[in-house]
């Protein structure tokens, strides 16, 4: 029997993509809860499922899993509510807005016996999986640096509300790339320096541009541009690129650059229309496989926490204008 999966809040637009994936995989959506009744009800109707205006009622449905797509700062309260009542929880990134919240989420899930997975879909983009294979093969020899970008458009809404999002472009985009690097290289970030721009590109007070420079435990160094530097009429939402330099070669990944270029005079724009494999689908498939096989999550709460720590260290570095060091796993 296919698992029953509910959605807690559709504040983050990825909820739509995950729900589509659940449909594609023949699982469907077992119910939607949201604090915004109009938004939640619309989503529920779209997926032919029930809207719940009380979280408690949704959780009483005896679900096999929930996907938490609320505003970042609400992840903790929603995961805490689900822990122990729902055995599998997929939480949108970043895991939380503070280390304390993230740790509490990990702890409560562990204590209650619920499995917590963090949604890092970039791992499931085939070009990124190919990168991991190449790095593992040792072909590039000693690895030197990682030059990365995760650009985007200015998302607006609660994404630019510090209380709800925990920050702007830096927290939004750092976690994706740091997760991919940690996963593909099997190493940790040891130090971060960052220049962060507030309202550099848009009429906003929150950080909308960020340039991180980091060092890794394996001896590599690297940079990451997290800026919301893609104008609204840019050809695509943004990018995730990773350029890894080794002593024997160079690999460049542009994870979502499998596109057709569509120019339309009536629409006054040129658009890059994707045709590559759907990374969100890969993520949801992996989550369902965990439920069906009973294995551990492929992306753990600790992975979410580690990526968050780098983003928070970047903000701190920008504040004090000095590199910030991160404690290593082994030291703990």
């Amino acid at each position: 029997m296919s698992p029953r999966v509910g959605i807690i809040s559709v504040a983050h637009m990825h909820a739509l993509s995950y729900a589509n994936a659940l449909n594609t995989l023949g699982v469907g959506v077992a119910g939607v809860y949201d604090t915004d009744a109009a938004r939640g009800a619309e989503m529920a109707e779209r997926f032919g499922t029930r809207f719940f205006d009380e979280l408690d009622t949704l959780l009483a449905e005896g679900l096999d899993a929930v996907i938490v797509c609320s505003e970042n700062a609400k992840h903790r309260v929603h995961v805490e509510a689900a822990a122990g009542r729902v055995p599998h929880i997929l939480c949108e990134k970043p895991i939380a807005t503070t280390v304390e919240d993230a740790q509490a989420m990990i702890d409560v899930c562990k204590a209650a016996g619920s499995k917590l997975q963090i949604a890092f879909p970039v791992r499931f983009a085939p070009p990124v999986q190919r990168l991991k294979d190449l790095l593992k093969s040792g072909t590039l020899g000693r690895l030197i640096s990682a030059k990365c970008t995760n650009h985007g458009r200015m998302p607006g809404g609660w994404f630019i509300d510090k209380e709800k999002a925990g920050g702007g472009a830096v927290i939004d985009h750092t976690v994706h790339v740091m997760d991919v690097l940690r996963w593909a290289l099997g190493t940790e970030v040891t130090e971060v320096y960052a220049e962060v721009g507030h309202g550099l590109l848009h009429d906003t007070e929150i950080d909308d541009a960020g340039m991180l420079s980091f060092s890794l435990e394996n001896g590599m160094y690297g940079t990451l541009d997290t800026s919301w530097s893609r104008p609204e009429n840019y050809a695509i939402w943004g990018d995730v690129t990773l350029e890894i330099l080794g002593e024997r070669g160079l690999v460049r990944v542009d994870a979502f650059k499998q596109t057709l270029t569509l120019t339309s005079a009536p629409a006054h724009k040129t658009e890059w229309v994707g045709w590559g494999s759907d990374a969100d689908l890969g993520l949801v498939q992996d989550f369902l496989e965990m439920i069906q096989t009973g294995r551990e999550p492929s992306i753990t709460g600790e992975d979410g926490l580690k990526a968050l720590e780098v983003a928070l260290a970047a903000y701190r570095s920008a504040d004090i204008q000095k590199p910030v060091s991160l404690r290593t796993q082994e030291a703990a």
Partner: protein, 338 residues
Amino acid sequence: MRRVGIIGAGLIGSWHAARWQNLPVEFVGFYDHTPENAERAAQEFGVSTFNSLDALLTNVDLVDVCTPTSAHKEGVLAAAAAGKAVVCEKPIARHLKDAEEMIAACETAGVPLFIAHVVRFFPQYAKAKALQDTGELGRPGVLRTVRAGSFPRPDPDTWYNSFEEGGGVVMDLSIHDLDFARWLFGDVERVFARGLTFADESMRDHSLITLRFKNGAIGHIEGSWASPPGQFRTALEIAGEGTLLEWDSSDPSPFTVQVDAAKTGDEKIPGADNPLAEADDPYYLELKHVLESLDADEPFLISPHDGLMALKLSLAAIESIKTGQPVAVEGFTEEVTA
């Protein structure tokens, strides 16, 4: 579970075999005119070999014909006579009369016939077609395609090098884009082409085909076995009224590796790649489509007539190269010199 067997244990045969093994069928094995080929492939995939076409046919429910073009007819007619569903690699046949005979035999026997024009299952081409169908591309105007590489085999002793057996680059390679063009813009009024097909060149062929569609649109199809060795290139450009859709495999790829070969000692590192999830692989999708259509008793995305028309377009282009004149597709008949 359906039992599937492959006739022709060459390159395409092993590509298909790898996909059949990931699909819900029992892939039983190979038959090949050259028993050593079947042996080698059977060993690679851990399946059986059959020492005759009949032996294979009695042990399968579906036959996948992956032989050289000129042998498609034999495999398909045998499958039809045995009442087995058939997948036939493109082109449907070497000659129009053969294709007509194959289609008629399958119809009479009530046997489903799928012509494997796999380009329709490549995600970028499928996406282009979907955009056309949903009206996001303007009224069809100008189509351009490229399919260009070096000669597909290292030595001249291959059917690819024989116009009589394979029809050269127009019939073997450009037929992919001719089928796609017809799928996208509809039937073709006339064809004009120039190329090397009759230039008596060994291990080299090239052609530039010009199309006029019945809906008024025009098109250009390049097919090449004359590029310098290295990367195979495909490109697609669809201009409509007020719209332009572009794709080129030589654009920066999502995955590019440069290595210092002197230091790695490894020449086999791919330079650039367009990786896809296994479930999005075009050959997998194509064969999965065959199974799903058979299960649902629905027509295939590619009808036998589509296969016939793609062949007819390639023959019309070849005729034009030969005569230097435009060739009308309707009423076109192939003169076969015995």
